[in-house]
């Protein structure tokens, strides 16, 4: 329990750091580009949007401290200002439209990649120097060297453009109305298959190698030898005795990899014109929509921090030592 609370405290500090960074970044920006930006925006956007931008950049009469307090209050109530690119829609609404798709895409990709990679890692360590152990690690290390979004481009070109097996983009067909029925769900799955597959291929190698290397160490330890000597079946020794302990470093890495995988999945979304945060992020960058950019940064950061805390809970469940310490 104490472990869980301490980690919660850490994530709160991290969240506060991200919030503060987000607040000060535009204010630290050199003065001239800010006014140049306003000059450019002056003709294009309405006075209200300009006012919202001014507040983002801290170009108001209020003291920096009171600005900070206002900012924190706004963020806590989910108010991120008004989007420039999608004016006059509030940033929170714009983000809301893409949040589900990003979590769906990145979430399923991470889960599939972790599960598959870990299982293959167990297999590689179990059948050391076997077929899996010889070929898969180096293949996936090579595939992992490609930028995610480039793999996505190739997959889209080959399976979407040349072979026509999968749709070329978006989350579901234009002719379908979103609903909880089989036609719609299959269509969503068909659209998500390629993006998920590319992220899985790019990240699988890491899980495989981590699990394989830890497993090799654990399989040589005394308690595993004892389990073998007792005459337990090999599958029981490997899965119940060795794998459970070998899983710990992977679980620790899981939290840390989340942010990284999410970053790659954002870029993958762009290639597939998938309507998630990545797509919004590009719109924000192209239109210099700073409020939207910052809103996306905050939402993604908070999501990753939350997910990390969940991973910690899993860790406590897996590793009795963290429970005994309290």
């Amino acid at each position: 329990m104490r472990f869980v609370l301490r980690r919660l405290g850490f994530y709160l500090v991290a969240a506060w750091a991200a919030l503060t960074l987000n607040f000060f970044l535009p204010r630290l920006m050199p003065g001239d580009p800010a006014s140049a930006l306003f000059a450019r925006f002056a003709g294009r956007v309405s006075p209200e949007a300009l006012q919202a931008l001014r507040e983002t950049f801290g170009l108001t009469d209020a003291s920096i401290f009171s600005q900070y307090v206002t900012y924190l209050r706004h963020v806590l109530t989910g108010e991120f200002g008004i989007s420039v690119a999608y004016f006059p829609t509030p940033v929170s609404t714009v983000i809301g439209t893409g949040l589900f798709w990003t979590i769906f895409l990145a979430g399923s990709a991470v889960l599939v990649s972790f599960t598959l990679g870990t299982l293959l890692g167990i297999l590689a360590a179990w059948r050391r120097r076997g077929w899996v152990d010889t070929w898969l690690p180096s293949t996936f290390v090579f595939l992992g060297a490609f930028p995610y979004f480039w793999l996505a481009m190739v997959a889209l070109y080959v399976f979407g453009f040349l072979l026509g097996w999968f749709p070329l983009g978006h989350a579901y067909g234009d002719d379908l109305a979103p609903g909880f029925n089989l036609t719609f769900l299959t269509d969503v799955a068909r659209h998500a298959a390629l993006p998920i597959a590319t992220v899985v291929i790019a990240t699988l190698g890491g899980w495989l190698l981590t699990m394989r290397n830890t497993m090799i160490g654990v399989l040589g330890s005394d308690y595993v030898n004892l389990a073998r000597a007792k005459g337990l079946t090999p599958s029981r020794v490997v899965l119940r005795y060795a794998a459970r302990n070998a899983l710990l470093p992977s679980v620790t890495g899981f939290g840390m990899a989340l942010g990284y995988v999410l970053g790659g999945s954002l870029l993958t979304e762009i290639v597939f014109s998938y309507p998630g945060q990545g797509y919004l992020l590009v719109q924000a960058v192209r239109n210099q929509d700073y409020p939207l950019m910052q809103g996306i940064f905050l939402v993604i950061t908070l999501a990753v921090l939350g997910a990390n805390w969940l991973v910690d809970l899993v860790y406590v469940w897996l590793d009795p030592r963290t429970r005994e310490a309290s």
């Binding site: 920006m29 290390v141 190739v154 040589g220 954002l266 990390n308």
Partner: protein, 313 residues
């Protein structure tokens, strides 16, 4: 082939020998050397990458080996010009990231106490904040260019190295030779730079390689988003323009395929070099390899076994 680590030769010669002896490291070194050569002399051989040389989006032919871009420039010339800039940023950032990380890590690990608590909190926070969104937010506020890109990549990349170096410093601090140096009255600065850091040479080298792989990948990703200077030619901006000119939907694979292959090859080469180094410098892997060679000499198939009886044979 001797299985004992070479101790007679030191420095560059030792590494050279070690690279040659390990197959992975050799492959990695060759790939890397080719790319460095291309980056060094290539731009003089392929002509002006900005020149409009033909009809846009022509497939590869004898006059344009890799075809033309959506604007009608030579893809090969752009690829070669991009290699120079991308590798320069990659290695520059890789080195800087490790320098910053080592500095913070050693300081935290050696000084301990409150300094350690504060610095550890700092890098742990940076580790848990997702890098790409943070990089985008920072890069968007700064004037676009290689310096901004480098700065952003260092800010988002140093934390992991700091964490590893801190852990290593903590381990080294407890050892006798450090205690001896303290008793001998050496200054903290001297102990850190002369006693502790040299024990981490291979670790730091591995970190430089790993960080360079990260820097090249992240740089390409950011530029693909349009956060680089889109008028300079790099691997990332090449991909940005390929996506912008909807290369995919017109089937112009030659505008994006070669660039990605280069990114991957450099990354793969560096990773190979790294795992080769690991096998050279990691005593456990060394023992295991020696043991396997030993078994094979006796006509036995090496299986999973612990090389504890090495010296008996």
């Amino acid at each position: 082939m001797s299985s004992t680590p070479s101790t007679a030769v030191t420095g560059f010669a030792a590494w050279w020998q070690a690279i040659r002896r390990d197959r992975k490291a050799t492959i990695g070194a060759i790939i890397l050397a080719v790319f460095l050569l291309v980056a060094g002399v290539g731009p003089w051989l392929v002509g002006d990458p900005d020149a409009l040389v033909g009809i846009p989006l022509q497939p590869p032919s004898t006059s344009h080996w890799l075809g033309t871009t959506g604007q009608g420039q030579d893809v090969l010339a752009q690829l070669v010009a991009g290699t120079r800039v991308s590798l320069a940023i990659g290695f520059g950032v890789g080195l800087t990231v490790v320098l910053v990380g080592a500095l913070v890590g050693v300081t935290a690990g050696y000084l301990g106490g409150r300094v350690d608590a504060l610095l550890s909190l700092l890098f742990n926070v940076f580790l848990v904040i997702p890098g790409l969104p943070l990089a985008i937010v920072i890069a968007a506020y700064l004037p676009s260019g290689p310096l901004t890109l480098g700065f952003v990549l260092v800010v988002t990349g140093w934390a992991w190295n700091a964490r590893v170096v801190r852990a290593q410093t903590l381990a080294q601090r407890k050892r006798d030779f450090v205690a001896a140096a303290v008793v001998a009255g050496e200054s903290s600065f001297r102990i850190v730079t002369r006693e502790i850091l040299p024990t981490m040479t291979s670790l730091l080298l591995a970190q430089v390689i790993g960080s360079t792989v990260y820097a090249i990948g992240a740089q390409v990703g950011l530029e693909f988003l349009g956060l680089g200077d889109v008028s300079t030619i790099t691997w990332g901006t090449n991909l940005y323009w390929a996506q912008n000119d909807s290369a995919l939907l017109t089937g112009a694979w030659w505008t994006f395929a070669p660039t990605g292959l280069c990114v991957a090859l450099v990354g793969f080469g560096l990773t190979m070099l790294n795992s080769g180094f690991d096998e050279i410098t990691n005593p456990r892997l060394q023992l295991e390899r020696a043991w396997r060679a030993h078994l094979r000499l006796r006509g036995e198939e090496p299986t999973r076994s612990t090389p504890v009886v090495m010296d008996v044979g």
